[in-house]
């Protein structure tokens, strides 16, 4: 198979002329898909901390996050203005949240944004996140089951997690934060020798993991309960790698898609949030468009406040103060504009990402038409765990309809219902999700 270089200059990338972007599964890049196989379904979630200007004063209405008006008749404020061209592909949702988060600390709910679990004083056991439910179902179709990103990387600590993704055991999945590292994982060519050597090592790996598992199980019997719980984490992780091995072998003969490194800023770092956030979004977009994965999450920042690098993003952009400070200062004179401008910046990045998916042709529609993208925070304003600002996009070919601003009473609708419906739209069988009580029918076409 000859490989086309995916050289995406900025203009092609933004316009997505579709010429340079011939879709990979049609070139037979997927291990499983053939020409007859159905087009893929995808999911992406983006999260940011500390909420927004949720209830602006009269003279600061422009900097409120939620649109004015409701239903189909709504107007964006300055904050979401960049979404205007995508109006028919997005829905703004207000009023709903995870009821389980209501009694949790104002800094604690980032962990449950995609899980809906209740983390109480003393019990920090989370449950599986929405993206992982989806990855369990469709992850095997692609080289990478899912892509977990955050600006700080790693897992953080309970209630201050630096990842949105949690395994079915409720354990945090470490997020990647370095664009270079993510690029190498997705598109980098293997350096460790020939295909023969790689295959040999892959076969060895399987055997190594088997034996290590066996040995560890016997070790487990000699341990106390607490220790056993820790070793179980290890066993589950080794087990998960082992399962991937079979898949990795199937992928060995299929080259990674050739994506020109210079088409994005892989050396961007968190000190330059503008370039960094763009690079992270670009990587997700490329991962989707090359069908390297179909599930991605990106935690833009964490509610851990002063203890994260992302907290300094606004200051690095020249806005006055750090993220947490901006959110706290909304009541101050000019404070709404300060946070509003930053939220506007975030929304612009998100809009550019959505546009890149909308511009990429796929079948009779675009990549966005088969991707459901959730964008939101678990605070309305800082420390308040109600009325999440949420923006749902894409999935027009999956039976999702858009173009509305939906507002709910939190007693009548909850976020898990939306998640249940997302699973349903993506064809992931599920009777419920977390504490869901029904479907979220207003987005159904």
């Amino acid at each position: 198979m000859t490989q086309k270089s995916w050289h995406l200059d900025r203009r092609t990338f933004l316009r997505g002329s579709g010429v340079a972007l011939a879709l990979p599964w049609m070139e037979g890049m997927s291990a499983h898909a053939s020409n007859e196989s159905p087009l893929p379904n995808r999911f992406c979630a983006i999260y940011w901390p500390f909420g927004v200007v949720a209830a602006p004063k009269e003279d600061e209405k422009d900097w409120g996050w939620f649109p004015n008006g409701t239903g189909k008749d709504f107007q964006f404020t300055k904050v979401l203005q960049s979404m205007e061209p995508l109006r028919e592909k997005i829905t703004v949702i207000g009023g709903i949240s995870h009821p389980n988060g209501w009694s949790m600390g104002g800094h604690d709910t980032g962990d449950i944004f995609l899980t809906g679990a209740k983390l109480d004083h003393g019990s920090f056991t989370n449950t599986i996140s929405l993206d992982q439910v989806i990855a369990e179902e469709i992850g095997a179709e692609t080289r990478f089951g899912s892509l977990t990103l955050s600006s700080d990387g790693g897992v953080g600590e309970p209630t201050r997690s630096m990842t949105l993704a949690f395994s079915k055991e409720g354990r945090p999945i470490p997020a990647l934060a370095s664009p270079r590292q993510i690029y190498n994982r997705l598109f980098g060519q293997e350096q460790s020798g020939s295909a023969l050597k790689q295959r040999r090592r892959l076969q060895n790996t399987s055997s190594i993991l088997d034996r290590v598992l066996e040995h560890s199980r016997s070790l487990n019997r000699s341990l106390g309960q607490e220790d056993q719980r820790k070793l179980d984490e290890y066993l589950a992780s080794v087990d998960a790698v082992e399962q991937r091995i079979g898949r990795a072998e199937a992928w060995l003969d299929i080259p990674k898609p050739a994506v020109d490194e210079s088409s994005l800023d892989v050396d961007a770092s968190q000190e330059g949030p503008k370039e960094y956030i763009k690079a992270m979004y670009d990587l997700i977009s490329l991962a989707f468009r090359t069908d390297s994965t179909r599930v991605a999450t990106y935690m833009l920042g964490q509610v851990a406040g002063a203890t994260t690098i992302a907290n300094a993003f606004p200051a690095c952009l020249g806005l006055s103060g750090n993220w947490h400070g901006l959110a706290h200062g909304v009541g101050k004179k000019g404070g709404a504009e300060n946070l509003g401008r930053f939220d506007q910046f975030l929304a612009e990045n998100h809009a550019r990402f959505l546009q890149s998916l909308a511009d990429a042709q796929e079948g009779q529609g675009s990549v966005l038409d088969r991707t459901i993208v959730l964008y939101g925070s678990s605070n309305s304003r800082t420390h308040n765990n109600h009325n999440y600002p949420l923006l749902l996009a894409g999935g027009n070919h999956l039976g999702v309809q858009h173009g509305q601003y939906l507002r709910y009473n939190e007693k009548e609708m909850r976020l898990s219902n939306l998640y249940h419906t997302i699973l349903d739209r993506l064809n992931v069988p599920a009777d419920t999700f977390a504490d869901s009580t029904g479907e979220f029918t207003d987005i159904l076409a």
Partner: protein
């Protein structure tokens, strides 16, 4: 249980009435109550039956108002707390005890608790906690199976294989536990991603460690001059390096793998009273600053240039940016630079582009040159052969061209640099003219002076014209076109200069081939392969698992070798894969201390591992291993000797760095973005130095056996020259003159000293623009006194600055506005004062008398107000007052806190109230030894808690 709750709730509903009726009770009792905090230990520990009802009464009267029902203050709900002390509530009771004991609860604006009630309550809590501690001892709060942290794993892999590389670059960052530690077993999880990376790292490491094929070619280079040669005219490039100067050594041939050494023979010229040059050696792809390069090492060079010294720097070439296989710019460059900064600007040749004349101007110049060029006076009648050479004529004509061009330019032309060059050229031309004419005169046998005189007379109008043109440009300096220096040269002050005699590179370094790291893993090749394999497995395993191994450990690995040997291309490759299996086993990745659910003494090897990870953040070395083999570690005397030996070893710097970083949250420096508009002089490069200052301070207290009370107040600092300049004390006697950190004595009236005036603490707890008193307070209460305030509750209101002059208030006043809201006041009255006391220090750690703030895009200056009243009523006057207060009143809390933190780090787990007896004993030792850290560490290592699983 259900009954109790219902009962409590009933009491709760009635409590408001009770509370009101009691409101008038005496404030006089408060005094006694507050002093009761010192009584904790002496209070009785017996539990009287029927007490619980009396306790309900006290709680409902004083506490449930705020800490009851669904909306509770500080996330603390007491009306549903378990009065039998089960589960996590025990920790809550501990908090309650402390707060009530210190008189912080009930708060001032609530009815006073009688001293009788207070004693009854505290005694009851205390007794129950004691009972619980006795019950729980041994079956809870064990150190849980602990994974090695990123850095422990890396150190271990380096020591195990004898190859120092960064194996963990791609590993996800480690979480911290609630108390800030990264080596907390409960917090250290693992995921599939990490298992993948462990396996990849193991294979990468073994690829390096086990070699095949002939010895690689060794590259040796020696450089006596900087390269490329054309840079030699740059005053900043060369063997004599002013501050900011560089010496470049380009290598076209270099190794791509293995250890290298760079030797630099250097000395220094240091004028009296000036700073010492600091030599930095870096290695990278190209010499220009855009391209990647990495620092190999840095050192102060103080020896005079007449006494050159050899400095050595080592590294692994893989860790440096290597050019690709077919690079645009081949080769690697070693850069030696003098990174000392003396604040003097090295005059750099101004960048310049010649002023371009229009075509019309050029034409007019050409015409003018023809008519204005001075003519040579005739030598004598009819002597044609004496005509001047064409060189003379063209030189004079060129000179005139320069004059004519200058005639067209105004003296205030924006391109002053080109004018300066033109004027210099012109003056050179005039000098040259005289010389040429004199030469010509001599050649034809005339008196030169006389001939020149005739020349000037003959061309008088033209020469006057020329002079007038030049006079217009009197104010403009001249720049020498060759040296790019001003003429005349400005007087140059002597500056600290690094003098490099020569530079050598050699690599890869192998004393033998195959190298030691290879032969250490694989037994000599004379033996049969399978025997070699078995011995190799056993040897690596016992070191990697940090314990003797048995046949049952070795056999599964050996059988894997048997399985893969036949399809592996070589014995070496089979061994790499086999040993990789060892390096992803839980016995290597975790500190395994098998035990059923009972507590048991650690084995000697488990104890050795704990000790080694505590003090060196790596596996035990040969000596410690032998000690464990001999079984002597159980002896308290042997243990003490070993701890002191290990502390004296340079590897204990890892303990200093990691413990200090985690205890004091020094990484927080990287999370603060300093606003350059507010602090235009702040240099980002100071941040790592600030971190180092605090680590050096800790190191000094530890290694010199000083009292740990120095953390609160000290009469010395640990700084280097850049920090001395930052703090504005580089003129202080004994201030450091180089980049190395030194201990500097402070004058007795200096407010600095201790941790609380160090830039690290002050900056970490700022927002990059201004101080952040709340964060400073929380840091102080949490990190130094071990009593973190409760985290913000759900739905905290925003700080609403309805007041129009909010921005002009001092921060103390702003926070007072904040506290007028009762929801805020509950917690913040106990927090804010601790941080406001530091208001005289700004976000970058500098002292200030007033605070700049922006209001309506204008700067307003607000006075510093750092006078506060602490929750216990003590009046504190700023930083100095705060430090005095801490030394007088908080020694115990500080000692307890530091002991607890050190114990938590030693054990790799959080400290609970069950550890109270152990902490009590350790605090007693700590205090009895005048707060010497080394004694505390010895006591920890000898403690039962440390030696038991």
């Amino acid at each position: 249980m259900l009954l109790v709750l219902i009962l409590l709730h009933g009491v709760c509903l009635e409590s408001p009435v009770d509370a009101q009726s009691l409101q008038t009770q005496g404030a006089a009792e408060k005094d006694t109550a507050e002093k009761s905090s010192i009584d904790i230990v002496s209070l009785g520990t017996e539990i009287v039956d029927g007490d619980e009802q009396a306790i309900h009464a006290i709680l409902s009267q004083h506490c449930f108002d705020c800490h009851g029902g669904d909306e509770v203050a500080a996330a603390l709900r007491l009306d549903s707390i378990d009065l039998t002390f089960r589960g996590v509530d025990a920790e809550t009771w501990h908090d309650v005890l402390n707060q009530v004991n210190r008189g912080e609860m009930p708060p001032e604006d609530q009815p006073e608790m009688t001293s009788e009630s207070r004693q009854k309550l505290t005694r009851w809590i205390r007794a129950n906690l004691d009972r619980l501690a006795r019950e729980r001892k041994g079956d809870r709060n064990q150190t849980v199976l602990r994974r090695l942290t990123r850095y422990e794993y890396n150190n271990t892999l380096c020591d195990l294989l004898g190859i120092d590389l960064n194996y963990v670059r791609d590993f996800p960052p480690e979480p911290s536990s609630e108390d800030g530690f990264k080596n907390n077993g409960a917090a250290l999880g693992i995921s599939a991603l990490q298992v993948e990376y462990y396996l990849a790292a193991a294979r990468y490491a073994l690829e390096k460690a086990i070699v095949e094929g002939p010895a690689p070619q060794v590259h040796r280079h020696r450089f006596e001059e900087t390269s490329p040669a054309k840079n030699r005219n740059d005053p900043l490039v060369g063997n004599r390096m002013l501050p900011g100067g560089r010496f470049l050594a380009k290598m076209l041939e270099y190794p791509r793998e293995g250890e290298f050494i760079i030797r630099a023979m250097a000395g220094a010229m240091v004028p009296d009273g000036m700073g010492i040059p600091r030599m930095r050696v870096s290695l990278g792809m190209r010499s220009d600053t855009q391209s990647p390069a990495k620092v190999v090492g840095e050192v102060d060079v103080a020896n005079p240039e007449a006494q050159q010294q050899l400095f050595e720097f080592r590294g692994r070439i893989e860790e440096y940016p290597l050019p690709g296989h077919n690079p645009k710019f081949p080769g690697m460059t070693i850069t030696v630079s003098n990174v000392h900064e003396d604040g003097v600007k090295t005059p750099k040749p101004p960048k310049y582009k010649a002023i371009a004349l229009t075509a019309e101007q050029k034409r007019s110049v050409s015409i003018a040159v023809k008519s204005h060029t001075p003519k040579l006076p005739p030598v004598a009648e009819g002597r044609d052969e004496d005509r001047p050479s064409s060189a003379v004529i063209s030189a004079i004509s060129k000179l005139q061209r320069q004059v004519e061009e200058l005639r067209l330019l105004p003296a205030d032309h924006s391109n002053q640099t080109d004018l300066a060059y033109r004027l210099y050229d012109l003056e050179q031309g005039i000098e040259n003219e005289s010389k040429l004419l004199a030469d010509h005169a001599e050649k034809v046998g005339l008196n030169a002076a006389e001939f020149l005189e005739r020349y000037r007379e003959a061309n008088a109008p033209l020469l006057v014209d020329r002079e007038q043109i030049m006079n217009r440009f009197d104010a403009i300096p001249r720049i020498d076109r060759k040296t790019k220096q001003m003429v005349p040269e400005e007087p140059v002050q002597p500056r600290s200069t690094l003098v490099l005699n020569y530079l050598e590179f050699e690599g890869p370094l192998y004393a033998t081939w195959p190298p030691e790291h290879h032969t250490r893993l694989l037994p000599p090749s004379g033996l049969p392969e399978r025997e070699r394999a078995e011995r190799a497995i056993e040897s690596l395993m016992s070191r990697a698992y940090r314990r003797p191994v048995s046949e049952s450990d070795v056999l599964p690995v050996l059988s894997f070798y048997d399985e893969i040997r036949h399809h592996s291309p070589s014995f070496e490759e089979a061994m790499r894969e086999t040993l990789a299996m060892v390096l992803i086993s839980p016995d290597f990745l975790y500190l395994v201390e098998p035990s059923a659910n009972e507590s048991r003494p650690l084995s000697q090897h488990e104890l050795a591992a704990r000790l080694s990870y505590l003090l060196w953040s790596t596996m035990p070395d040969e000596d410690l291993r032998r000690l464990a083999d001999s079984g002597a570690l159980g002896d308290a005397g042997v243990m003490e000797k070993q701890v002191r030996l290990m502390l004296a070893d340079p590897r204990s710097q890892r303990f200093v760095d990691h413990f200090t970083d985690q205890w004091l949250d020094l990484s927080g420096l990287d999370r603060v973005a300093i606003n350059p508009a507010r602090y235009p002089k702040f240099d980002e490069r100071l941040k790592p130095l600030m971190k180092k200052e605090t680590q050096a301070f800790f190191s000094a207290v530890l290694k010199q056996d000083l009292s740990a009370l120095n953390f609160i107040e000290s009469d010395f600092l640990t700084i280097n020259l850049p920090l001395a300049k930052h703090y504005g004390i580089s003129d202080l006697e004994g201030a450091p003159r180089g980049g190395d950190f030194e201990l500097v004595d402070l004058p007795s009236d200096d407010p600095r000293g201790g941790l609380l005036t160090q830039a690290s603490f002050l900056m970490i707890n700022s927002n990059g623009e201004d101080s952040h008193p709340i964060r400073r307070a929380v840091w102080l209460l949490d990190r130094l006194l071990g009593d973190p305030p409760a985290p913000p509750p759900p739905d905290v209101p925003e700080l609403d600055s309805g007041q129009p002059d909010f921005e002009s208030l001092t921060l103390k006043q702003q926070l007072e506005v904040h506290r007028t809201k009762s929801a805020c006041n509950d917690c913040h009255r106990g927090i804010d004062p601790w941080g406001i006391a530091f208001e005289s220090y700004d976000a970058v750690g500098l002292h200030r008398d007033s605070i700049r703030r922006i209001k309506d895009r204008k700067t307003v200056n607000v006075g510093v107000d750092d006078q506060v009243t602490l929750p216990d009523g003590s009046a504190i006057d700023g930083v100095v007052g705060m430090k005095r207060y801490l030394l007088q009143n908080e020694q115990d809390r500080f000692a307890r806190s530091l002991t607890g933190k050190l114990l938590a780090y030693s054990l790799g787990r959080s400290i609970g109230f069950e550890d109270r007896d152990c902490v009590d004993e350790l605090v007693a030792v700590f205090q009895a030894s005048d707060y010497r850290l080394s004694d505390l560490i010895v006591a920890i290592a000898q403690s039962k808690t440390f030696q038991m699983k």
